[in-house]
């Protein structure tokens, strides 16, 4: 009996989770808000993309290439 109840309530929990997972159309944001978020998000991201590649990463890439060249020469 008790077991059955637990199972039922856990089923309901799972269902609620499903509803949350599929809630895309329900709380629909205004297009303005969506556009604002999209714009800001890309601005935030593109600020980093626009930065020059740090020297240490360039050096690392160079080293990777060097190992390759050495191995090829041997």
């Amino acid at each position: 009996m008790g077991h059955k109840v637990t199972q039922l309530s856990s089923n309901r929990m799972a269902q609620q989770d499903d509803e949350v997972e599929n809630s895309t159309p329900k709380p629909a944001l205004s297009t303005d808000s969506q556009a604002f978020i999209g714009l800001k998000l890309r601005e935030l991201y593109d600020d980093v993309v626009a930065e020059p590649v740090p020297d240490r990463l360039l050096e690392l890439l160079g080293k990777l290439g060097e190992d390759d060249r050495k191995n090829g020469a041997k």
Binding site: E21, R42, Y45, V49, G65
Partner: protein
């Protein structure tokens, strides 16, 4: 000989994706030096397993997957070592001296950092990195529907934090009022 050639192409292709890898890494770890550590580790791993990459397929997605896996394995390691990684992380996320003078962007960044990790990651991949829902699902190793709902919830939550819609019951003013009510009897 042919090996050599493909090796050099691969290096050039890696270089082209680095700016995007750094931006994604920043969204995961917040601090520039940590982000670059993560990118560095990703490049080494990518180079080591470059023979498993099929030329002409989505290198960016392949590299993002490596970076993400590296990030989560480091997180798991750190969680075992440090007792409160969340607090330390939050501290790191809040300091970005290079953003001085861009106050509204700073607010936005803070709001993004408040999102749960899985939502933030999905939102960045789809909304900023330019991946499709399907590609993002592959990178995160989850269902497409899961990515869609994470992105949707992330947007809704951002709108709440930034008080973009309605009267902003979750907004900073509501929080401030709550704090005032709590502190005024003591004052």
């Amino acid at each position: 000989m042919g090996e050599d050639m493909s090796g050099y192409d691969f290096r050039a292709e890696l270089l082209a994706v680095i700016p995007n890898l750094r931006a994604f890494a920043m969204s995961l770890v917040g601090a520039a030096d940590k982000a670059d550590d993560l990118v560095q580790e990703t490049l080494v791993r990518a180079w080591d397993k470059r023979s498993s990459f099929t030329p002409g397929t989505n290198l960016k997605g392949w590299l993002f997957t490596i970076l993400r896996n590296e990030f989560y394995s480091q997180m798991r390691k750190r969680k075992r070592e440090v007792s409160d990684p969340e607090g330390a992380m939050a501290e790191r996320l809040s300091s970005h001296p290079e953003q001085v003078g861009k106050l509204d962007m700073e607010d936005f960044k803070k709001a993004v950092n408040q999102l749960p990790e899985d939502q933030r990651e999905a939102l960045i991949l789809v909304g900023a990195s330019g991946f499709s829902y399907e590609e993002a699902a592959e990178i995160c190793d989850c269902a497409v529907g899961t990515i869609k709902s994470r992105v949707s919830r992330a947007r809704t939550q951002l709108a709440n934090i930034l008080r973009l819609e309605g009267d902003g019951e979750y907004g900073p003013d509501a929080v401030a009022v709550g704090v005032m009510n709590l502190t005024s009897p003591a004052a």
